[in-house]
């Protein structure tokens, strides 16, 4: 277990250096520093994959009942989505949001002591996996849309108000690139979010014999789902591009984060990850 502790610390260190060096590279507009920073984060990601894989392989079943594992998995998913967007859109910029988020959530997973969750039955395991997996991917995509949205709003304001583009704004990709990131996040993220939520309800039906339990988490999630659906609809039917989807994506991610951290840890809910 000690060797895992060391590996975890090393991964956190890589994410930390990746996050800080990217910020420095962006502020001083040094392309090389940014590249080094992305490689640091990438190395962290590879080790993180190994870490998760080993934990799963060694403690199969048992680790699936620990909140620590899921939080670590969420951090990993953030980076996976960042890599996807980086590969498809050349959006290296999102490392600015991905690396610190991964660092934050991963460190948090290290800080909490392993809590045990209700063990999913064999049959329900599928629904549970689907619930967790698709929701994590959609949240990670929204995190990327959040980063892209912040950059969009900033750049849009700069261009609209005709103020001078500073070093950072000058190095940013174009508005259309950020809008494409939003497009991806919405068109993949929303179906996954729907799937994940439904899978959760189905799992709940198997586990607690009731679909909706007026759990605060469930109410919050349904609220977010309606906003997400609105955004999806507006984008899909051709109404929205640019600023409005960017703003709504920011809102949706902030709410998801509140839901994930606030509700899972500070309220009485059966989504509790509290030790």
């Amino acid at each position: 277990m000690l060797s895992f502790r060391i590996l975890d610390l090393f991964i956190a260190l890589l994410y930390l250096s990746g996050a800080i060096s990217f910020l420095i590279g962006l502020i001083y507009s040094r392309k090389k520093v940014q590249d080094v920073s992305v490689s640091l984060t990438l190395t962290g990601f590879v080790l993180h994959s190994v870490d998760l894989g080993l934990k799963y392989a060694l403690g199969l079943g048992e680790v699936l009942t620990q909140s620590q594992f899921y939080i670590s998995l969420l951090a990993w998913t953030f980076l996976l989505m960042f890599l996807l967007l980086w590969w498809r859109l050349k959006l290296k910029f999102l490392s600015l949001i991905a690396a610190p988020l991964a660092l934050l959530i991963f460190t948090w997973s290290l800080a909490i002591s392993p809590a045990t969750l209700p063990v999913p039955g064999l049959l329900q395991g599928l629904w549970f996996g689907l619930h967790i997996g698709s929701l994590f991917v959609s949240i990670a995509l929204m995190a990327m849309a959040f980063g892209a949205g912040l950059a969009y709003v900033h750049l849009d304001r700069k261009i609209k108000s005709k103020s001078r583009l500073g070093n950072v704004a000058r190095d940013l990709p174009s508005l259309s690139t950020f809008d494409r990131a939003n497009h991806w996040a919405v068109f993949i993220g929303f179906p996954l979010f729907t799937l994940g939520t439904l899978a959760g309800f189905i799992w709940a039906a198997f586990t607690w014999r009731t679909i909706f339990t007026w759990d605060p988490k469930e109410i919050f999630t349904v609220g977010i789902w309606f906003m997400f659906a609105w955004l999806f609809h507006k984008r899909a039917t051709g109404g929205w591009k640019g600023k409005k989807p960017a703003q709504l994506a920011i809102l949706i991610f902030v709410l998801s984060l509140i839901s994930f951290i606030g509700i899972n840890f500070f309220t009485e809910t059966h989504h509790s990850l509290r030790p």
Partner: protein, 438 residues
């Protein structure tokens, strides 16, 4: 005799265009024009002649006055003009100042439009030409290579050449910031005019897909469309085509706005809210300023673009200060090399003289040995040579350190050459007898 670097020049700051034209050195060959002669005062030369500057960089081995006279006479002789007129307008730098000037020119810090990229290319051409004419040597070769690399450093480490400083480029830069790649986008040109056409041309050069040209007279539209390989249309049809246009450049002579926010709202709906970029070059303006209030629509008029250009220029001036620091560092490095240049022949002379003596002594000693075999010879040679190396090590280190710390070791190099008599001069027995008497 030591080598000294000189730079003579005219530029847009010191001479008006008539003078620069009169003293242009296009096609001047320093070798065939006898600027470089055997035993003459100038041993290396490079000529740079552009519309904003005419410069001669050279390395001289004689007194400054002789070099100056030679250069100015050859220069004015080539142009068939009065040397006095020339000397009234030139600037003249030597050594460090000359190096710094050349490096600043290469980094475009001395250009009329600060940071413009052409000058580096012109300097490279001038250098290539002078290499072909064999008018450069060790010093100018190294100096030019270093000026290129320092220019590259200023360009990558500062933003001195990064932002647009003309209205049409500023428009292109903004379009790229909004749309990214332009190769899937169309522009519409409404009305014509020099600036609008220039902007259209820059957009096309940056990969724009197509240009639609609308004009009051259809013939003019057709003519422009042919030039830009685009589509022509009547002024009345613009609203029909606006949904296809991402970038709109307007410069009609209309007395009031021809495009209003209300019109654009419809257009946006048809475009599914894809962004639009309006560039209004007309005075009075063609496009209602309220258009800028719509989401995903950006409107810049001529004053806005002018302001962007002014800000970019101010930004370049700020960056130029950083660039000048980089140039200074590079000049320092070059000077260090220059001073070690004087040192290395002395070191070589010193060591080879020592080795000569050592080998001679080995030979003599071998003769005195009863049976000197190959092994003994090798050992003795090794002994003698390493003795020389060890003995001369300290003086060499001393010279190198002087050269590093004081920028030049000329006086010590001179002393060392005298102490070890490296120039093999015949010294009379009582050479300084007169000094003693005083």
């Amino acid at each position: 005799m030591e080598h000294k670097i000189y730079l003579f020049g005219l530029n847009h700051k010191t001479a008006e265009v008539e003078i620069r034209e009169k003293f242009a050195l296009t096609g001047f060959n320093p070798v065939s024009r006898n600027l470089l002669e055997k035993d003459g005062p100038v041993v290396e030369a490079l000529v740079l002649s552009t519309c904003n500057r005419v410069e001669i960089l050279c390395v001289g081995t004689q007194a400054q006055e002789q070099v100056r006279e030679k250069v100015l006479n050859t220069w004015s002789g080539f142009c068939g003009a009065d040397p006095d007129l020339l000397s009234r307008h030139i600037y003249f730098y030597t050594d460090r100042e000359a190096v710094r000037h050349l490096f600043s020119v290469a980094a475009s810090l001395d250009s009329m439009v600060l940071g413009e990229p052409q000058i580096l290319g012109q300097l490279k051409d001038a250098y290539r030409k002078s290499v072909e004419e064999r008018s450069t040597g060790v010093i100018i070769n190294r100096m030019l290579h270093k000026s290129f690399s320092s220019a590259k450093r200023t360009r990558t480490e500062t933003a001195v050449s990064s932002s647009a400083v003309s209205i049409s480029y500023a428009a292109v830069e903004l379009a790229k910031k909004i749309f990214g790649d332009l190769n899937a986008h169309r522009a519409m040109l409404i009305g014509a005019g020099e600036m609008a056409e220039l902007a259209a041309l820059h957009l096309l050069n940056n990969g724009l897909k197509e240009i639609l040209v609308a004009n009051r007279t259809l013939e003019r539209a057709v003519e422009l469309a042919r030039r830009f390989k685009g589509q022509s249309l009547c002024l009345e049809d613009i609203f029909k085509y606006l949904p296809q246009a991402d970038i709109i450049i307007s410069s009609t002579g209309a007395s009031s706005a021809i495009i209003r926010a209300g019109d654009i709202r419809d257009v946006l709906r048809k475009r599914k809210h894809r962004p639009m970029f309006f560039i209004d070059i007309a005075v009075p303006r063609d496009i209602d300023p309220d258009v800028n209030q719509l989401d995903n629509v950006y409107l810049y008029d001529i004053d806005d673009l002018q302001e962007v250009v002014e800000e970019n220029l101010a930004g370049r001036r700020e960056e130029a200060l950083k660039a000048a620091k980089i140039v200074d560092q590079e000049v320092d490095k070059f000077e260090k090399w220059l001073s070690s240049l004087d040192l290395s022949p002395t070191i070589v002379d010193l060591l080879s003289k020592g080795e000569d003596i050592a080998l001679k002594e080995v030979k003599r000693s071998l003769r005195n040995l009863p049976q000197g075999d190959e092994q003994t010879r090798k050992i003795m040679e090794h002994l003698a040579l390493s003795l020389v190396g060890k003995l001369y090590h300290e003086p060499i280190v001393f010279l190198k350190r002087r050269a590093q710390e004081e920028g030049s070791a000329e006086k010590f190099v001179d002393l060392a050459r005298k102490i070890f008599n490296l120039d093999e001069e015949e010294i009379p027995d009582n050479a300084h007898i007169e000094k003693k008497r005083k």
